[in-house]
């Protein structure tokens, strides 16, 4: 483990300038991913950690049907927000389905978006073949035992999963990410924030080095929308998803008039299921519609021996959450 300099930031612009000017510098927020990778796994080796946890990026405010959430709000704080419970309960469900109470008190919303994959090959520095860690070195996961890996957006180059629960409803809601850089601020929809691994799995999102997430904006769905999050996993609590699904439906007279669906546990990024939404929108809220939506969502998977089971599991997860949210079982 390489020594690093610790710097406590008290001004966002200065922190952005400091990290942008130093290729060896990284931000430190809740630390639940970063310190794990730096101190324990030794696969990330910054020369300088800039602690941003004292920056004033903490508020949750509601204005014009948009919920603004500071990047340093913790998972527990967002889960306890009254507007979240009332208007987007599946965000609360996803938050409380993730990690443990201790980790949720530490982990921030900005950090949740940027959490690194749990791929065991990525996190094991003795494994040489990892295109995400060492571009061009190959992918041990596609050849070796794999289970907690992606089947959507994956390729021969990388099957590393984005393991966030929170990001699944956030991507369904068309959340916007506000970013500060040395040249000013910009905003990116969460659906365009992540990039597919392609031939460069080391590039995971659109952030330039030194850019800082300052807040996210969650557009609240129309009144009458019902939502839910379902997480399927190997044990009842404190475990990453095998598959998960977040659904928000507006149903009028038995017809789905607005549908948002996203998947977790299956994608190299939080996976918006637009093809499934097209099937759902305008269709009757019925079992056959739900099954057709599930088929559309899993139309083009990339699997290895250990992950093939996820195709059917993901379909059943989608059908189940649509049944739950709509109240229609058959």
């Amino acid at each position: 483990m390489r020594p690093f300099e610790y710097v406590r930031a008290d001004d966002a612009a200065a922190a952005v300038a400091l990290v942008s000017a130093d290729p060896q510098a990284e931000y430190l927020a809740g630390g639940t991913t970063e310190l794990d990778l730096v101190l324990k796994d030794g696969v990330v080796e910054p020369g300088r950690l800039v602690d941003i946890t004292r920056l004033p990026l903490r508020g949750i405010t509601l204005a014009e049907d948009t919920l603004r959430v500071g990047a340093l709000v913790t998972m527990e704080e967002l889960a306890a927000d009254a507007t979240v419970s009332e208007r987007v309960p599946f965000v609360r469900e996803a938050l409380l389905a993730g990690a443990s109470p201790q980790l949720r008190n530490m982990a921030t919303i900005g950090g949740n978006l940027l959490q690194r994959t749990r791929c065991r090959y990525f996190r094991d520095s003795t494994v040489m073949a990892c295109n995400k860690r060492t571009p061009g070195s190959g992918c041990a996961a596609v050849r070796g035992p794999a289970r907690m890996h992606a089947i959507l957006g994956a390729s021969d180059h990388c099957i590393a999963l984005h393991a966030s629960d929170l990001c699944v409803p956030l991507v369904a809601l068309d959340t916007v990410v506000d970013i500060q850089g040395v040249d000013g601020a910009r905003s990116v929809p969460l659906t365009r924030f992540y990039v597919l691994p392609g031939e460069r799995p080391d590039i995971e999102n659109v952030l330039q080095h030194g850019e800082l997430i300052t807040q996210i904006r969650i557009p609240l769905p129309p009144g009458g929308t019902r939502s839910g999050y379902l997480k399927v996993r190997d044990r009842a609590s404190y475990e990453f998803a095998l598959t998960s699904a977040a659904a928000a439906l507006l149903i009028e007279d038995g017809t789905i008039v607005r549908a948002r669906l996203a998947l977790g546990g299956v994608g190299t990024m939080p996976w918006r299921a637009r093809e499934a939404e097209e099937v759902l929108c305008g269709a009757p809220a019925a079992g056959r519609t739900f099954r057709a939506a599930a088929e559309a969502a899993l139309d083009d998977p990339f699997t290895v021996a250990g992950t093939a089971f996820k195709i059917e599991l993901a379909k059943r997860t989608i059908v189940r959450i649509l049944q739950t949210v709509s109240g229609v079982q058959s």
Binding site: D36, S100, L103, Y238
Partner: protein, 164 residues
């Protein structure tokens, strides 16, 4: 930009541990867990997995439960840390400690300080409404001896719900 570190890889940090101010000079990489155990001789907080998976290192930071193994000591500058050694007041055990003894909420005892710190926080959070809720909100604390039923019973008793 406040730079509490000179351009080196050490930090000066002031921790308020169990009500007492402690000033330390540490390598920047030192976790809160290692600062408590190795610098302050507060070895009640245990190092289990040392990777955020087991909960043995749970302490309260400004009253909220966190994992000290994934927290840099430097991040805790000026903050209040409560470890298992800080629970007993005036020589009397905390009610959660007494309940763990009464209900035999441990076997080997290694996870127990973390279990108790987490249970104290859970009760403050109001998460002891049912056995199911206690189990869910204690899920970040693993016990490889399997003392879970007795741990739940101890927490249930302190929550004032008697036996179910």
């Amino acid at each position: 930009m406040e730079n509490t570190v000179s351009a080196d890889t050490h930090v000066e940090v002031l921790l308020r541990v169990n009500g007492r101010a402690r000033r330390l000079r540490l390598d920047s990489r030192v976790t809160l867990l290692d600062a408590l155990r190795d610098e302050l001789d507060l070895t009640g907080t245990k190092k289990g997995c040392d990777q955020g998976a087991c909960g043995a290192c749970t302490v309260l930071l400004d009253g909220k439960r966190v994992l000290s193994c994934l927290t840099l000591a430097a991040q805790c500058e000026g903050r209040g840390v409560t470890s298992i050694e800080g629970l007993a007041a005036d020589g009397r055990l905390h009610p959660v400690q007494e309940a763990f003894i009464r209900h035999d909420g441990f076997q080997c005892g290694y996870c127990t300080p973390g279990q108790i710190m987490s249970a104290v926080a859970l009760l403050q959070e109001g998460r002891a409404g049912s056995d199911e809720e206690i189990r869910e909100f204690m899920s970040g604390n693993l016990c490889r001896c399997g003392a879970y039923p007795n741990i739940v019973a101890a927490i249930r008793e302190v929550a004032g719900r008697g036996s179910e």
